[in-house]
Every structure is written in structure tokens, then in C-alpha cells.
């Protein structure tokens, strides 16, 4: 076999391997941002200025373009009253580095039967790290669950839907 042919064969093989690796890497990286998951959460916050209790469910749906939709439903109570909570919040985030994310904006949509005062809902979002005041952080990846929250503390263990992980 001539040198020219050998070189072309080696170059073709290398190109093919590189293409496969790039496809795997893209699929691998895309998978990271495509998980949808569900979590049952209870927040019991009893601080002087911010006290509330929330018992509910969170469903996380990645939407592409660095946007994620989170449906939160349940009951929330402050010192005096108990409210129905049913809201859909859309967050925009970008990866800071590693498993750290910065939430740049959040848009809240009140759904039917929701009667939670906005200041109380904002307290909940602040604790969950959805207002962007603290960077979000993924603490742990299990086989099909993710522990995530803020840099200071985890806020939920989220089980991926369809066993994608």
C-alpha cells in the first residue's frame, strides 16, 4: 500500500473517531441540562423576620435556552394564616462553573386556586434559591436523583422522570 493511501486511511479513521467522540460529548453534555424531575418538599423556616411553613411538591421541567420551569403546589402558612399555593415559576440560569449555576431572572405565574400573598411566595423562592440571591448548586448525583439547592444548603432531592439518569 502506498504512503499516500495509508495516510488517507489513518486520517479517515481519526476523523471518524473524532466525530463519534464529539457526538458522544454533545449527547453527554446535553443530557445534563435535560433532566426533568419531581420532589416532595417541606420547608420549616422559623427566623425572626422570615417565618413560614411550606408542604408541597415541586416539578422541574427544563425548557431549553437555559430556561427551566418549576411547578410548585401545596400549602404555605405564616404565623397567622394558611394559604393554597399553586404557582409556575420560570427561571433563567447560566452555569458559573462545575455544578454552580447563577439564576439571572425568575418569572412567577399564579395558577388557579392560588391565594398566597406575593411577599410570602417570594420568601419561599428566596429559601429555594430561585430569586438568584445565592448561586444554585448541585450537591449530589445519584443513579436517578439529584440533590440540589443553594451554595449554602440543599433544598430538595429531585427524582428524575422516566429514569433518565
Amino acid at each position: 500500500m502506498k504512503t499516500k493511501e495509508k495516510v488517507l486511511i489513518i486520517a479517515s479513521i481519526l476523523c471518524a473517531v473524532m466525530l463519534i467522540m464529539i457526538i458522544i460529548l454533545i449527547a453527554f453534555l446535553e443530557d445534563e441540562d435535560k433532566y426533568a424531575c419531581e420532589a416532595r418538599v417541606v420547608y420549616d423556616i422559623a427566623l425572626a423576620e422570615n417565618s413560614f411553613y411550606f408542604d408541597g411538591k415541586a416539578s422541574v421541567y427544563p425548557q431549553g435556552n437555559n430556561e427551566t420551569g418549576i411547578y410548585l403546589s401545596g400549602v404555605i402558612a405564616d404565623k397567622y394564616n394558611r394559604y393554597e399555593f399553586s404557582q409556575y415559576v420560570t427561571i433563567s440560569s447560566f452555569k458559573v462553573r462545575g455544578d454552580r449555576y447563577k439564576i439571572s431572572s425568575h418569572k412567577v405565574k399564579q395558577l388557579a386556586f392560588d391565594n398566597t400573598p406575593s411577599h410570602l411566595a417570594e420568601l419561599l423562592y428566596d429559601v429555594m434559591g430561585l430569586t438568584g440571591s445565592i448561586q444554585s448548586y448541585i450537591y449530589s448525583h445519584g443513579d436517578n436523583y439529584i440533590v440540589w439547592g443553594t451554595l449554602l444548603y440543599p433544598t430538595m432531592s429531585c427524582v428524575t422522570i422516566n429514569n433518565r439518569r
Binding site: K4, I10, A11, I24, D99, H141, G149, T155
Partner: protein, 245 residues
């Protein structure tokens, strides 16, 4: 066949084209001129007999030959070569013997040279491309490994409570373990009973404050489906309370 003559004249013996590499001067040899010149170039430095030329150029093609015609064509060739390379002595006459392309004229096979040059360039370029590809592959591989290691990171798996695996951010002493169980049982009173019978993952994150500080803990109870070893659901509790100690 392509020849490079005097380092500046390229001669294609198949087509009869001659051109100068550094100018736009070119010539097209007639069939007979080309045949004579190609025989002289092929036998560079050696005398090509008159009879050999007459036989190969004319007689084999069924044409009548004569010494005068041969002399005339040699004369035309000389004029064309003078025009191209300004060398009067390129074709040397050996009276009654024949003609030769001067031994002083530098002739090289341009086809072979060009081929070896292009092969060398190809190998060089392919080697460079291969090196770049290997670097890119290596980078991709490293990225995958980093990605994989980050996706597989876990908090410390510290201990077990029955069939439950306790995963925590802190090193757990016996005393702290009891404290954790107490904290978890406040939100899940049947924890110890459930952990005796069913596997689960218990994620625990704890921050203890000093006097007049707030205590914070996060606990997640995630039962595991024994058939596929996957978590079926998780109930997470985050508590942050002011405690005056």
C-alpha cells in the same frame, strides 16, 4: 512525462507544451518537433543517431525521411529553445553521427520530483492534521472524564441505619448519628421501623450554629425500589430555626 530543463523550462513530452516557470513565455511543438525533442531529452547527454531519429520519427509512421528534413527540424527546435532559454548550445550536432541534448543542460524528471514533493507535503500535512486531531481527541476525552467525575460525585456516604444508607456532608460520630436520627424522626416518626425493612437513601446536611445562632438541617428520605435499585421518590425537609441555647 514532464521535465524541468535548466531549472526554468517545463517540457511536457506528451503534449509538446513548453513554458517558462517565471514568465508567460510558452511554445507548442509540432508532432514531429516534439518527437525529436523527446528522444533527445530521454537520452540526455548521449548522442542520438541520425538513422535512429529518421527511423523512429518518420519511417515508423510510414513517412518518407530525409537528412535535410531532420536538419531543418533541428534548426527550428534550436530557434525555439533560444527564444525560451537563450541557450544556443542546448542541442549539439555531431556531424554524420547525430545530435544530443547538451550534457551541460540541467534536466530532471519533474513528474517524479513533483510527485515525491507532493507526497512529502501530504505526509507532512497529514501528520500535522493527525497531531491536531489527537490533541482534540485527548481534550474531548479529558472533558468526558471531568464531566463523568462531576456527575458521579456524591456527598460522603457515612453510615447505615438498618437498610437505609446515610449520606451526609459531615463526618458523623455516634452522638451526631443519634442527633440525626432524632431530627429525621421528628419529620418521619416511623423511620427506624421503615429502615429495618426497606432500603432507602437518607441525605442529611447539617449546620450547627453557636449560642444564639440558628440551626439548619436538610434531610431527604428516598425509598429505593429493590427490583431496580433506583430511588422511587424523595421527601425533602429543610428546616432553619432560631435556637437559643
Amino acid at each position: 512525462m514532464i521535465y524541468l530543463i535548466e531549472d526554468k523550462m517545463i517540457y511536457n513530452s506528451d503534449s509538446g507544451d513548453i513554458f517558462i516557470t517565471d514568465s508567460e513565455i510558452s511554445e507548442k511543438l509540432t508532432r514531429t518537433e516534439n518527437h525529436i525533442f523527446s528522444l533527445l531529452v530521454e537520452s540526455h547527454g548521449k548522442v542520438v543517431g541520425r538513422d535512429y531519429l529518421l527511423e523512429n520519427v518518420w519511417e515508423r509512421r510510414g513517412l518518407s525521411s530525409s537528412g535535410a528534413s531532420l536538419n531543418q527540424y533541428i534548426s527550428i527546435l534550436r530557434k525555439k529553445l533560444i527564444k525560451l532559454v537563450n541557450n544556443k548550445e542546448m542541442i549539439i550536432t555531431y556531424p554524420k553521427e547525430g545530435f544530443s541534448l547538451s550534457q551541460n543542460a540541467h534536466v530532471e524528471n519533474y513528474t517524479e520530483k513533483n510527485h515525491s514533493l507532493s507526497s512529502f507535503k501530504l505526509v507532512k500535512r497529514a501528520s500535522l492534521a493527525s497531531a491536531i486531531m489527537i490533541i482534540v481527541l485527548f481534550t474531548i476525552l479529558i472533558s468526558c472524564v471531568i464531566r463523568l467525575s462531576s456527575t458521579q460525585k456524591t456527598m460522603f456516604a457515612q453510615d447505615n441505619i438498618g437498610k437505609c444508607q446515610l449520606i451526609s456532608n459531615t463526618i458523623i460520630s455516634k452522638k451526631v448519628k443519634e442527633s440525626i436520627i432524632n431530627s429525621i424522626e421528628k419529620t418521619n416518626p416511623n423511620l427506624q421501623k421503615e429502615c429495618r425493612n426497606y432500603p432507602a437513601k437518607l441525605v442529611f446536611h447539617y449546620q450547627e450554629g453557636g449560642n444564639n445562632e440558628k440551626d439548619m438541617f436538610f434531610v431527604s428520605y428516598c425509598p429505593v425500589d429493590a427490583s431496580n435499585d433506583k430511588v422511587s421518590y424523595c421527601k425533602s425537609i429543610y428546616s432553619n430555626k432560631w435556637s437559643r441555647k
